[in-house]
């Protein structure tokens, strides 16, 4: 009898221990750079929001881990019709949303119709070639195009093409509520949101990818100051700090408790030129600016050696033209060009930068000095990011350091957004080259890889010669994390894959 009791007690103890150990939750704490505006995939266009959406939402397809091809996500396979106009996607069966409802073709149709609605989505343009989306049966969706459209697969891997539950979305009354309490098919469920402070996600037990996510909880702490983020990861109050300052990479790597991952991403840093106003309407002046800026100097100082000088408007995404030589640092040549353009005495201009963005301000400071060396007197104006954005759209600027990232594995997005006039007036710079416009349109409908490569190479060459921007650098993404954090992966589109990460205690 006594032995029985002992055995029972021991089993109980063992049970409690096991349960206790299992119950010890692993929480991945991430220091995030800025508060997302919403968790509705359709609507936002700012990076900190986009990069947070992937926790909660999945798309039909996604970018591979090594960022070189498109792989199945919610859709397990697809077929393209011979006339290249119909893409038929077959959904995996039995995938659930966070509320337990199954992901069906109806949800796909609903979600993608929102994505291509100009009233709701700032990127609807990219989906214009879609004529209609039809649910063929419960698990099959057919997307019919009006013309062959090469970027379509890459576009469907984009954040705003995420598949959301139609029923739930309509039930909560639309984007306002949905954006604050999202339901998706992604690896993490949304738990709560403390505005300005933190967002908590938890593991979605029913996630269709086996064994993911590996942590029980994921929390984003909103910490806009880059130095604070790196301080936090060093102090151990967070496990991962995104976008740490380049200057801290050395110190952080030297810290025995921290490791740094510097990952290539599709990011291009440059200085926007308002090509619509004098004297920047003259290509010679713009070229002079490119010769005047010490780009390697910027890499050495501001970026602490990280990054490559950019020859044109595209970072290496799909068809990077590596035959183009970047503009060398040649102030004499710059002065020569200014003289030819009739500005021998120089002129006054202003540089618009975001207050509190140290990299941007540093670039502006170097730019100011470089311009002074060739006779151009530039003042630096610091404003808040929201204000700067408004002013860019309203063309109330002359020069402004900026950057963009490609969200898709295709050159089309940045060509549309950054250099084509038809897209965004060349990202609000009013750069307009008819030949570029032709090629941009052609690149979309050409599916042959070789032909597409030539097209995008040519666009890059034209933009380079026209000096549409002051091309600066392709910059990598530095992330710092505690040494006990494993599995970290961020593909080149910055959609962090936290579902791969685990923490060893």
């Amino acid at each position: 009898m006594r032995r029985l009791v002992v055995v029972l007690l021991m089993s109980l103890a063992l049970l409690i221990t096991v349960v206790g150990l299992g119950a010890a939750e692993s929480v991945l704490r991430v220091a995030w750079m800025s508060e997302p505006k919403t968790l509705d995939p359709v609507g936002p266009s700012d990076n900190p929001t986009l990069w947070a959406l992937h926790n909660v939402h999945d798309c039909l397809v996604r970018v591979s881990d090594d960022s070189t091809y498109i792989e199945p996500d919610l859709a397990e396979l697809w077929e393209i019709s011979d006339d290249l106009l119909t893409y038929t996607f077959h959904l995996r069966k039995g995938i659930e949303f966070h509320n337990g409802k199954e992901v069906t073709a109806k949800d796909v149709v609903f979600s993608l119709d929102r994505t291509r609605d100009p009233e709701q989505c700032p990127y609807s343009d990219m989906f214009k070639p879609i004529e209609e989306i039809v649910a063929v049966d419960k698990y099959t969706v057919a997307i019919r195009l009006s013309a062959p459209y090469a970027p379509i697969l890459a576009d469907l891997a984009m954040f705003n093409a995420a598949i959301i539950p139609e029923e739930y979305f309509l039930a909560v009354g639309g984007t306002q509520e949905f954006g604050r309490h999202p339901i998706g098919a992604g690896p993490f469920k949304f738990e709560y949101w403390k505005p300005g402070e933190e967002i908590m996600f938890s593991k979605f037990e029913g996630y269709w990818r086996e064994g993911q996510p590996k942590v029980d909880k994921l929390v984003y702490y909103i910490m806009p100051d880059a130095t604070s983020r790196s301080l936090a990861v060093r102090a151990g109050s967070v496990d991962v700090a995104v976008y740490i300052p380049y200057g801290e990479i050395g110190t952080l790597s030297a810290d025995p408790n921290v490791k740094v991952s510097v990952d290539t991403i599709w990011r291009h840093d440059f200085v926007k030129i308002n090509c619509g106003i004098e004297p920047f309407t003259d290509a010679k002046v713009r070229q002079a600016l490119n010769y005047a800026v010490n780009k390697q100097g910027i890499i050495n100082s501001v970026l602490f050696g990280y990054g490559e000088i950019a020859p044109s408007y595209m970072p290496p995404v799909l068809y990077f033209n590596d035959e183009l030589d970047p503009y060398p640092y040649d102030p004499e040549k710059a002065k020569q060009l200014l003289k030819e353009a009739g500005y021998e005495k120089g002129f006054k201009t202003s540089i618009l930068a975001t207050a509190g963005e140290p990299v941007m301000v540093s670039i502006a400071t170097i730019l100011q000095q470089n311009l002074r060396d060739i006779g151009i007197d530039a003042t630096i104006e610091k404003v808040e990011e929201g204000t700067r954005w408004d002013r860019l759209i309203a063309r109330e600027y002359e020069l402004s350091p900026d950057y963009y990232t490609s969200d898709i594995l295709d050159d089309d997005l940045l060509t549309d957004f950054g250099i084509s006039y038809a897209g965004n007036q060349a990202y609000f710079s009013d750069y307009h080259n008819p030949r570029v416009e032709e090629l941009y349109a052609l690149g979309r409908v050409t599916l042959d890889e070789g032909a597409r490569r030539d097209i995008y190479h040519e666009i890059q060459r034209l933009a380079h010669e026209d000096a549409a921007q002051i091309f600066l650098t392709t910059t990598p993404n530095p992330t710092a994390m505690r040494t006990n954090v494993y599995g970290f992966l961020v593909p080149a589109n910055d959609f962090y894959r936290w579902e791969y990460v685990w923490i060893e205690e």
Partner: protein, 296 residues
């Protein structure tokens, strides 16, 4: 009129400090030099002013010259205070920062001093509604925290060093006015003033010739301490971004620039901070010494 004015200034303000016959003032000067506070302060500020004025000759490099390949170099023989992010020499920037600090003190406090003394003189001498108005204005301005009022002024007129002088002057003159006014109120009934008025001297003459020489000392004491405060104020303003703008080598602005590198390149933010400390200590000691003098 001119000759008399110069004469008055000379005889009442300047000569007494050097003349042998007026022993009290001579003794005062000797005491001033003996006092350890004022001695130290005078030497420190003397050096500061010297460095500031001769900055172009003393500074080894152009404070604005960037050299991107020498970014963030630690202190060395070629760069005793190291270099900043843009490869600019820090010691040169700190030296030019001294010049800017001195300019801020002289111009900002200079204007405040003049306005304050005049306002206080009018207020104390005439009394009545002039006094009421001026003192109400003084009270109102002093109801705002200094920094907040200056920030608001900079927000209105825009950032930059020129507006900074102006803003500091607007905010600082009040205390001088108060000091002068209370001095005048007590001195007004003294013998020598009544005598001067009885003789028939004009108000202006009484004010500038008799009352002011006696009231100027406390304001000078306050001005010295004020310089210390103003340097700190200007540095704070530049630090938060509404004061001197880049690439001006104002000490506060330099600390702001060096802030992000405190871990990896401490010298960029620390040496300007030391500059501020030096100037503030110098002016404080000087002021303390002057005040000791006054209270004897």
């Amino acid at each position: 009129m001119h000759k008399t004015t110069i004469g008055t200034i000379m005889s009442r303000y300047i000569v007494p400090f050097f003349a042998g016959e007026d022993t009290t003032r001579w003794e005062t000067l000797k005491n001033f030099i003996k006092n350890p506070n004022s001695k130290a302060g005078l030497i420190m500020i003397g050096i500061l002013t010297f460095v500031a004025i001769f900055a172009p000759l003393i500074a080894p490099y152009d404070p604005y010259r960037q050299n991107l390949s020498e970014s963030l170099n630690p202190p060395s023989l070629t760069h005793p205070f190291g270099t900043d992010l843009y490869g600019r020499d820090v010691i040169s920037r700190v030296i030019y920062g001294a010049w800017i600090a001195v300019k801020i003190c002289v111009i900002g406090i200079g204007i405040a001093f003049i306005i304050g003394n005049l306002a206080g003189a009018l207020s104390g001498y005439y009394g009545g509604w002039i006094d009421a108005i001026i003192m109400r204005i003084v009270d109102s301005i002093m109801s705002f925290p200094f920094l907040v009022l200056v920030i608001a002024i900079m927000a209105i007129f825009g950032p930059g060093l020129k507006n900074l002088y102006f803003a500091i002057a607007i905010v600082s003159w009040c205390q001088y006015a108060r000091i002068v006014r209370s001095k005048y109120l007590s001195e007004k009934e003294e013998e020598y003033v009544r005598a001067a008025k009885a003789i028939g001297f004009s108000d202006t003459r009484v004010i500038f010739g008799h009352l002011m020489p006696n009231s100027i000392m406390p304001t000078i004491v306050y001005a010295s301490l004020d310089c210390a405060l103003v340097i700190l104020l200007a540095a704070s303003l530049s630090f938060i971004g509404v004061g001197a703008q880049p690439p001006t080598p104002e000490w506060g602005a330099q600390i702001a620039e060096g802030r992000q590198f405190l871990q990896v390149a401490w010298w960029v933010a620390t040496f300007p901070a030391l500059g501020i400390m030096y100037a503030v200590i110098g002016f404080s000691l000087l002021g303390d010494g002057l005040r000791d003098l006054l209270e004897k």
